[in-house]
Structure formats: C-alpha cells, structure tokens
Symmetry: C2
Subunit: 253 residues, 2 copies
C-alpha cells in the first residue's frame, strides 16, 4: 500500500511526522508537504511562480518539501513525484480543528480535496487543540481506520474530514459520523489606535456557541471523534429549478 | 437600497469600478475591497495580523481599501464600516472566470460566501476573459438583475455565482441557470532546469476539455451568461448514513 501524506503546517511539523511514524507499518509512506507553515498563504494552485522541491528522509519514508500550498503538493506528487498512484492521501494531522464552515478556508482540507478531484481517496485529519498536543491520539486512530476505509471504499468524489479531540485516547467517548456544523464568528472586530492615533482592526475569533447535536462541532466539543463525508459540488440543487425562470428574461441586451 | 461591493483584484480594479459606476443609480453603493490584488494571497479570515483601512471616494460612492482578503473586507464592512446591514453584497467583477471546481479556491467567491454566512444575500460576478475586457457587458447585466434578485429573494444560505462571457452584449445568447461543472487540469506539471541544473516545476493550467451541457463551464463557453446557485454545506449527505456503521467500531482506544 502506498500512502501519500501532506499538510499545511509544513513537512517537519509534529502532526504529519507523528502520523508518518505511526502508519509506517502499513506500507510505503511518502510525504509531500509545504516547506514551511502555509496556513495563511493561500490554498489554491500556484500558477504564477515556479515550485522548488527538496528531498529529505524521515525514518523509512521519503519526504519532499515543496515551496507551495497543500493543493500544489498533491498535484505535484500525483503528476511528477510518485512513480504510481497512491491508494490513499491523508492531509494532516493539522494543529487545530477544521470544523463546519472552517473547511471552506482550510489548507488541510484543500490537500484532501485536490486528491479526490484527481480520483484518489483521501482524508483530512485535524487535532482540536486543548494545550496537550496529543497528536498520537489522532495518529493511533487513523492507523486503525485506514484498513477499514480502504476496504469499504469511499465513493470517488467524497473524502473524510476527521477531527480528533486533543485528549488521551482513554478519554475519547467514541466516534460520531456528523454533518458539518455552523461556526459563526460574532462581534469579532476589535478596533485599536496606533501611536499616531490612527485606527487599525483585529478580527478576533469569538465563536458563537450554538453547536447543534449531529454536527462535527458538537461531537468534538463532547470528546467524540467527528467524521464527516465531504464532497465538493457547491451547487444548490434545490434552487436550480426555481431559478430557471431567469432564463426567460432578456436581461443581457 | 444599500449595496456593498468587494472583490479580490483590489479596490481600484476596472471590474469593481465599472460595476460601481453602472449600478450607482440604484441606491447607495459602498466599496470595501483589498488595497491590492489578492488573488494569490489567501481567502480566509486574517487573524494573525491587524488590518489597515484607507478611505477614498469614487464618483458618488465611498470606498475603503483594506489590507486583507475579500472575506476580511466583508466581515469588516458588516461589523464595523457600514452603519446598517446592506441589502446585497456583490463580489466582482472578477478579471477571469470562476467556474466549476474553481469556486473552491476563488477569492471572489469567498467574498460572496462571507456575506451569506452572515445572512446577507450576495452574488459573485466574473468575466470570462477573451482579450476584450468588456466589463460593461457584465455590469449592464447585473444592473438589470439586481432588482429581480432583491425582489425574488434568495434563500438565506445561497448566493448566485455568475460568469459572463467577455463579448459585446449583442453577442450574448442568453442566460443559463446551470450547475457547477468539473474543471480538471491535466498533464499540468512542467519540469524545467535552472542555470545550475536544478529542477523546478510550473503548474500549468491545461484544462481538460469535457464540459458537459447543463454546466456553467459549457454555458459560458457557448456565450451564455451562467448563473449557479451556490451553498456552502459540503457535507455529503448521501454518505452520512452509510458511514454510521463506523460508530459501532471501537477504533479509538
């Protein structure tokens, strides 16, 4: 079995390295990940500048540090760096949760998305940090999940978004297969003045606390591992027919 | 009527300014947009550094240049800069199409998304460039669409993703309400050597040409204006029940 790992925290981050070490017994592991933390630097494909790649070994596994985004890493791995298609792509373990609406902006998720766009099954794995940084809880879980996920093969356009509470394995209450919740940040702009009296603004992350049951947000908050099947067609099919009436109006000339 | 405009090409870009000028007769227009082109610089919310804002007038309209992303601009506008909630947020007119899978990585789209996450109806508007830069074709269309869209109010979690061909209005064949198509880039890695003989890579954008009818990709390629209702819940509900069996397995300890 060939497993490709990527992330958006960078190739040497604890999350991806803990995962690599834990799952190495399952087969060949190759890491293709950004050369530094990319959380804040775009999640699309880099078209406007060339990408550099540096090879580096970690334990038994080959790693490539790429000067690009997680999506770049997966694209480059599939089309250039790997000698055959991987059986599975795993993006993570991310340092921080990727729940609900967050997934739209998540670099970790974009790595998993790029895989399924190219027809390779994938997972995005994130640790909901609580000061313990117990990446091993998530890695141990993924080690057991991989054989099941590969056997019970997922549909081609869906990946698993997995969030694990940052607690000891013994404190995990179970698994919840849950939909994406809403994560709305409220009253989130803070105005400050600089020494010259000019305003600047911080967007703070005050989460509105209304996590509903059956959501990933609720599950993780209650010490469950949340698993959400995620697809990438954002079309709102329920509105498609209703809007068809627009086609009858001549609004373009 | 209060309309908020944003984009990811920057406050002074031709697309947003053409739109501003065209729709000013409809009511009060406020522009809150990035202070420079942000297409390649991340689409999330900026949490790790403060945002600067500069005021500037354009015609009858007030504009704010923000040192952040389109999502930052919308958040800051709704919570800080506007004195009341806008009736509509429009992101664009983007210089370049945002079709199919592109919408997942689009800054233009993230501006519209941030609006509906906060309960404000929105549209993302993009021009499918063909060397003419006829932003007026798109702007004239939006001018006519706004009153209809506001009257026929959209559901609260859906926005309209609109792509307009870069041709004269007289060449537009009509409107197609279409689902998001697949835009897969193939054979897209090009390897080069630098003067020292070291490899680097370009991700080129060779589009796989299999646009299916009923998709936005097909519609725009055939000179229709494509309108797609887009929502932001990526949960794959069809898989949610199937995966429930995972909950019965003890994989976490």
């Amino acid at each position: 079995m060939l497993i490709l790992l990527t992330n958006d925290d960078g190739l040497t981050a604890t999350g991806i390295q803990t995962l690599r070490q834990t799952i190495e017994p399952l087969g060949e592991v190759v890491l293709v990940a950004p050369d530094r933390e990319r959380s804040a630097s775009g999640h699309g494909i880099t078209m406007h500048k060339p990408l550099r790649v540096e090879k580096q070994y970690f334990g038994e596994s080959l790693g490539y540090a790429v000067s690009g985004t997680p999506a770049d890493c997966v694209k480059l791995a599939l089309e250039q760096l790997l000698d055959r298609p991987p059986h599975l792509v795993i993006s993570g373990i991310n340092k921080g949760a990727n729940l609900g609406t967050d997934v739209l902006y998540s670099g970790t998720v974009s790595g998993a998305l790029e895989a399924i766009i190219n027809g390779i099954p994938s997972m995005a794995v994130s640790l909901d940090l609580r000061g313990n940084e117990l990446f091993s809880t998530a890695a141990d879980f993924i080690l057991k999940l991989i054989p099941i996920a590969v056997k019970q093969s997922l549909p081609s356009r869906t990946f698993l978004n997995i969030n694990v509470p940052d607690v000891e394995s013994t404190e995990i209450k179970g698994i919840q297969v849950a939909k994406l919740g809403a994560r709305r940040y409220v009253n989130s702009v803070v105005e400050r003045k600089d020494p010259r009296g000019k305003s600047y603004y911080w967007l703070s992350g005050v989460l509105e606390d209304k996590a509903q049951p059956d959501t990933d947000v609720w599950a993780v908050a209650h010490n469950y591992i949340a698993i959400t099947p995620v697809q990438y067609d954002l079309t709102d099919y329920s509105q498609l027919t209703k809007l068809k009436t627009l086609e009858e109006r001549n609004l373009w000339s």
